[in-house]
């Protein structure tokens, strides 16, 4: 029982990161029907941006203040990079087929990965410990580290903020309008290019937050770190129902929990723990077979 609670805590930790990244996939898909393959790499870019900022502001004395600066700074940098990618890579090809944009996204992903290998080399870097990473005991004998608590706290805060933006602000309502009917949105005077760029900015900032939070938890960063986690987050978005925001969060948490439990208990039912990375993809196949719209996804019927 105690190990179960422990596995669950660890699973939800990584699941929160998947959820943060999945949100970007699902928002961009919702607005452009594009799977932004470069999105996982933005998570990596966020971690590196945090790494560079940390070397600037960090004076080896752990402080939550330094962490907040690094977090917000890397989110801002990633938002700018996400908007630049949309502006200079995707927007020019958007008028051609959706496939063209998709291929551009795959190319962009490889470009970012190998640009970072070129600049920083493929050797992993060690992310500085910005906060005092103490362990705390909860539920009897399970432990939770300060960096895990940070992951939960920051993820929840960001998700509440996102919810507020999307449902209460003018730009958020415009995002929902554009995702439903882009031509109607234009007829309202909405600058849809701006709304699309804004969507990329938000998604990228969330992915970067995921990158920095993960680097606090597991302080090894390298240029290809976004590939597998990006794919899993994509699966999380599909599991929840791509285009559906609460679905992305639910999908992320479920996949995080499922793979940790496989690592913890798989051996006893004949699944080796080395299959960890396969869990998400097994789930993907099941979803596509059983419920392609995802858990919370609906095939909205347009009334005419």
């Amino acid at each position: 029982m105690d190990t179960f609670v422990q596995q669950l805590i660890n699973g939800l930790t990584i699941g929160s990161i998947y959820a943060l990244i999945a949100l970007g996939y699902t928002m961009v898909y919702g607005i452009l029907r594009l799977i932004n393959f470069a999105h996982g790499d933005i998570y990596m870019v966020g971690a590196y941006a945090g790494f560079l900022l940390a070397t600037l502001v960090f004076n080896s004395e752990p402080s939550i203040f330094a962490f907040v600066i690094v977090l917000l700074g890397s989110m801002a940098i990633a938002a700018a990079i996400g908007m630049a990618i949309e502006r200079f890579a995707y927007r020019p090809v958007r008028k051609y087929s959706r496939m063209t944009t998709l291929i551009t996204a795959i190319g962009m992903s490889l470009f970012i990965e190998y640009l970072f290998v070129f600049i920083f080399s493929g050797t992993p870097r060690s992310f500085p410990q910005l906060i005092q990473n103490d362990n705390y005991t909860i539920f009897g004998s399970a432990t939770i580290s300060a960096s895990q608590m940070l992951i939960f706290a920051v993820s929840i805060l960001l998700m509440i903020t996102l919810q507020y933006i999307i449902f209460k602000t003018k730009i958020g309502k415009a995002m929902r309008a554009v995702s439903f009917n882009i031509n109607s949105a234009k007829l309202m005077g909405i600058n849809t290019d701006f709304v699309i760029a804004f969507t990329f900015a938000i998604g990228s900032a969330l992915a970067a937050a995921g990158g920095v939070l993960t680097a606090q938890y597991n302080p090894k960063i390298e240029p290809l770190m976004g590939i597998i986690i990006g794919l899993k987050a994509f699966v999380a978005a599909v599991l929840g129902g791509i285009g559906n925001i609460p679905g992305a969060v639910l999908g992320g948490l479920l996949i995080g929990a499922a793979e940790t439990l496989v690592v913890g208990y798989g051996n006893s039912i004949g699944i080796p723990s080395t299959y960890r990375d396969a869990v998400a993809f097994a789930i993907l196949i099941l979803v596509l077979l059983i419920r392609p719209a995802g858990l919370l996804g609906t095939n909205v019927q347009e009334k005419v």
């Binding site: 309008a177 109607s184 949105a185 234009k186 309202m188 005077g189 009334k303």
Partner: protein, 234 residues
């Protein structure tokens, strides 16, 4: 106020509009009638910048607007209720109206205009918090028109507002059109319901396969034997 000068538009290799010229004067209700596929929607989409003319140009209040981005025409006073209504089904009725007022920042004025929309279409008031996707076809049409009015347009384009609606609802839509024009808004009305359209307009153009084949005073056109036979079912 609005002039199309020899406008031609193609979808790929298919020419949908050939050498269209038409004029809408300030304060008028002008209707554009024609059979399915005549090019009426294409004409409105070209005016609003969703399509670009291959030849010719669109002039609005003295400025060439063809080639301009759609969203920039709204602050200039053009609004459209599109074919199929195009309401945001995932947004509430109120949020749809808010989107209609997207370009405005005067909270007070927006609130007043929302009340006006509710007076024009009382059913919208009852359904204020409901998702637009749950409205009936007629209610969606009212919402699309109310939403278009929220930007306080000087020129309102309506694409088949009566399509697929019960006679009673068609009647209230045309009453609303009369009401909107009496408040000084210029209207370009696309309709297949030629009978009602000719009754509620000053001038009319008749389209056939991408060309304008007749134009004139609505009363006179309604009495024209060719129009009677082809469009009024007499």
């Amino acid at each position: 106020m609005l002039t199309l000068e020899n406008v031609s538009v193609s979808y790929g290799a298919i020419e949908a509009l050939t050498d269209i010229s038409l004029t809408v004067n300030q304060g008028e209700v002008v209707t554009l009638i024609g059979a399915n596929g005549a090019g009426k929607t294409t004409t409105l989409r070209t005016i609003t910048g969703l399509l670009e003319p291959k030849n010719g140009r669109v002039v609005y209040e003295g400025k060439t607007i063809s080639g301009m981005a759609t969203h920039r025409l709204v602050p200039m006073g053009i609004a459209m209720s599109p074919e199929g209504r195009g309401v945001f089904a995932n947004l509430s009725v109120r949020e749809n109206l808010e989107m209609g007022a997207y370009i405005r920042n005067d909270k007070k004025g927006i609130a007043d205009d929302m009340e006006r929309a509710f007076t024009l279409f009382p059913r919208m008031k009852e359904r204020e918090q409901q998702k637009a996707g749950t409205l009936s076809g007629g209610e969606q049409q009212m919402l699309a028109m109310g939403r278009a009015l929220m930007s306080r347009p000087r020129l309102l384009l309506l694409d088949e507002p009566s399509l697929g609606l019960a006679p009673l609802v068609v009647h209230s839509i045309f009453e609303a059109i009369d009401e909107i024009r009496s408040e000084g808004t210029t209207i370009l009305l696309v309709e297949q319901n030629a009978n009602a359209a000719l009754q509620h307009s000053d001038r009319a153009y008749v389209m056939e396969t991408g060309r304008i084949v007749m134009e004139g005073d609505s009363k006179q056109l309604a009495a024209d034997p060719r129009v009677k036979e082809a469009y009024l079912g007499e």
